[in-house]
């Protein structure tokens, strides 16, 4: 189990012309809440629909429509908060954030500025053996997404698709506890993993289910500690916000570039301005972004159409009782219950489906053996095929389990099992039946094995003499016998008989 007895990694230092610098990063992560319907309407959240098909009159901001809150979205946000050890606020409320832009029909976004649903919490980010960064969370609030603009369909017009408008988002705001670009990517990866385990966000970054705003500043060594002491943000330097970064790699690249850019500006005698920037992955640089409003004045106020959101502690407790097992807990359980190594347990919990597959195979079998088959044979084999992963792999846990059972029962040897695995992987079918039909059964008939051993001994008198002087050479005979029997002889029986016949 990850715990705070572990050490925090060293913050990244960058050597500048005027001395060393340290990086300070905080993330605002927008995660789409996994539900059927939108936050305040009954329109579908399904990705890839016809433009403006997932739009109700309310989503299109038709006069006379009113928002109705989806309980499922609140439940998912509460689960996320519980999974991140946050405090659930039984009373919260929704506010209007105003701006005019064609992606926002109503001219305001419903969000929770003043009273968020969730406060506090933490994410433990493993950065290496024994190294854990604890990233504290400020808050998680629930809000609506905006629509999407398409610019490339007409030279004179922009096209608006409101399907994404009103989609439920959780904005997860971290404290500036992230101290290197690598940690920023790892933090986002861990957050994604936790939400995927909880089932509260599908984590599909290609479809934009997770986007991050990356806040970066640089400061001199020692300044961060001053901030920890007195809470004065001016110790951390002027920060810039890189908007809407949509992959782990880009988060890392953008933070790295931005920190170096800031250092260069300061060391050249320039002044940093607190601004919003965009990351351009093609050029690998960030650039200043003209904001949607010249002045960022969103004129927030409490939405007069919505009463305060009040939830019951008993309901929260019920959601907590049904919470899925989280990655850290699952990893600890694999180490403790199955005797897996830290590394193997990490790989098996790196995606929720990995563990589900492994546990289905391990059910009623030896956990370590199941883990070896899943990690070495199955994952090794899948790597050779483009587009195959655990969710669509051609071998089911029942099939893989069947192969392991055949080894356990002594029906096939470990070597034959690998051939059998390849057949099941490429052709499918019931392992036991394949073994039966293709004559892959291990030969345990000692008479047949003895005959094979006798033949090898008779044909190689010189080797027999050598083996009598050096018993290690018995292995050569075992190999010859295995070859002669097409790998089907029981290795244990062959070993025994070879030793006996050679008088070792």
């Amino acid at each position: 189990m990850l715990d705070l007895a572990m050490n925090a990694p060293e913050p990244r230092r960058i050597a500048g012309a005027t001395g060393d610098w340290e990086i300070v990063i905080g993330l605002e992560v927008h995660a789409q809440i996994a539900t059927q319907a939108k936050l305040f309407s009954g329109s579908s959240t399904r990705f890839g629909a016809e433009p403006n098909a997932n739009v109700s009159y309310g989503d299109a901001a038709m006069p006379g429509t009113l928002p109705v809150l989806n309980r499922g979205c609140i439940a998912q946000a509460v689960r996320t908060g519980l999974g991140l050890k946050s405090r659930i606020n039984l009373t919260s409320s929704f506010d209007r954030k105003h701006y005019f832009y064609p992606d926002l029909p109503s001219g305001f976004q419903l969000t929770q500025l003043f009273q968020p649903l969730v406060s506090g919490g933490e994410v433990l980010v493993e950065m290496g053996p024994g190294l854990v960064r604890r990233v504290r969370l400020d808050r998680i609030h629930v809000e609506q997404d905006a629509g999407k603009l398409v610019h490339d369909m007409d030279p004179a017009m922009s096209f608006v698709d409101v399907n994404r408008g009103g989609m439920p988002l959780m904005e997860i705001v971290s404290r500036p506890d992230i101290r290197s670009p690598e940690e920023a990517a790892a933090y986002l990866g861990k957050l994604r993993l936790i939400m995927r385990y909880l089932g509260t966000c599908d984590g599909n970054m290609q479809e934009g289910s997770i986007r991050a705003d990356v806040n970066v500043s640089v400061c001199r060594p020692g300044q961060y500690e001053k901030w920890l002491e007195d809470g004065d943000f001016s110790h951390l330097g002027t920060r810039t916000e890189i908007k809407n970064v949509n992959s782990l790699r880009f988060v890392q690249q953008a933070a790295e570039y931005e920190a170096r850019r800031q250092i260069a500006v300061i060391e050249d005698g320039g002044t940093l301005i607190q601004e919003t920037r965009l990351y351009d992955p093609d050029r690998g640089e960030t650039r200043s972004m003209r904001s949607k409003e010249t002045a960022e004045d969103y004129r927030y106020f409490p939405d007069p159409d919505l009463l305060p959101l009040v939830i019951e502690q008993a309901w929260v407790d019920g959601l907590g009782a049904g919470l899925a097992e989280l990655p850290d807990a699952r990893k600890a359980r694999y180490i403790a219950d199955f005797g897996l190594s830290d590394y193997d347990a990490s790989v098996l919990t790196a995606e929720r489906e990995n563990g589900e597959y492994f546990e289905a195979v391990a059910q009623g079998r030896d956990g370590k053996q199941a883990a070896n088959w899943v990690l070495n044979e199955l994952f090794g084999r899948m790597k050779r095929d483009e587009g195959v992963d655990i969710t669509n792999c051609p071998v089911s846990p029942a099939q893989l389990g069947g192969i392991i059972d055949l080894i356990g029962a002594g029906t096939i040897s470990g070597k034959i099992a690998k051939d059998l695995f390849e057949i099941v992987y490429t052709e499918g079918g019931d392992p036991a039946r394949i073994v039966e039909e293709r004559g892959m059964k291990q030969v345990t008939d000692t008479g047949a094995i003895e005959a094979a051993v006798d033949a090898v001994i008779a044909a190689n008198p010189a080797q027999v003499d050598k083996a009598k002087q050096n018993p290690k050479l018995a292995g050569w005979f075992v190999g010859q016998v295995m070859k002669a029997t097409g790998g089907k002889a029981s290795p244990a029986a062959v070993n025994e008989i070879v030793a006996a016949k050679l008088g070792l």
Binding site: S44, N52, A53, Y57, G72, S93, M153, L307
Partner: protein, 96 residues
């Protein structure tokens, strides 16, 4: 409180309302009149009183169960648009 012309201009911009320069002064005076009307509220001591943002504060927000019950009215939501093409609202080119 006194609202100056620059503030009116900025508010007009934020609200996307066109106000002629010659009218700014009149608007500023009208804002002042409105603010003067609510000004007495500032005299009330609200120390320790929970902010009330809705007169129906004792009522609770109603939540509905998650499920798709709406949408699929593309033609209807686009009907009132000044311009719509291929299922999209079409607006003058927006430059990022």
């Amino acid at each position: 409180m006194s609202i100056d012309i620059a503030t009116v201009r900025s508010l007009a911009h934020l609200a996307q309302i066109g106000i002629e320069d010659g009218d700014l002064q009149t608007w500023a005076q009208e804002f002042d009149t409105m603010l003067a009307a609510v000004e007495p509220l500032a005299a009330v001591n609200v120390e320790g009183v929970e902010p009330m943002t809705n007169p129906a504060h004792s009522l609770r927000l109603i939540l509905v169960e998650d499920g798709v019950t709406d949408g699929n009215v593309q033609e209807d939501v686009l009907r009132g648009a000044p311009d719509a093409r291929e299922g999209f609202y079409a607006v003058p080119k927006v430059r990022e």
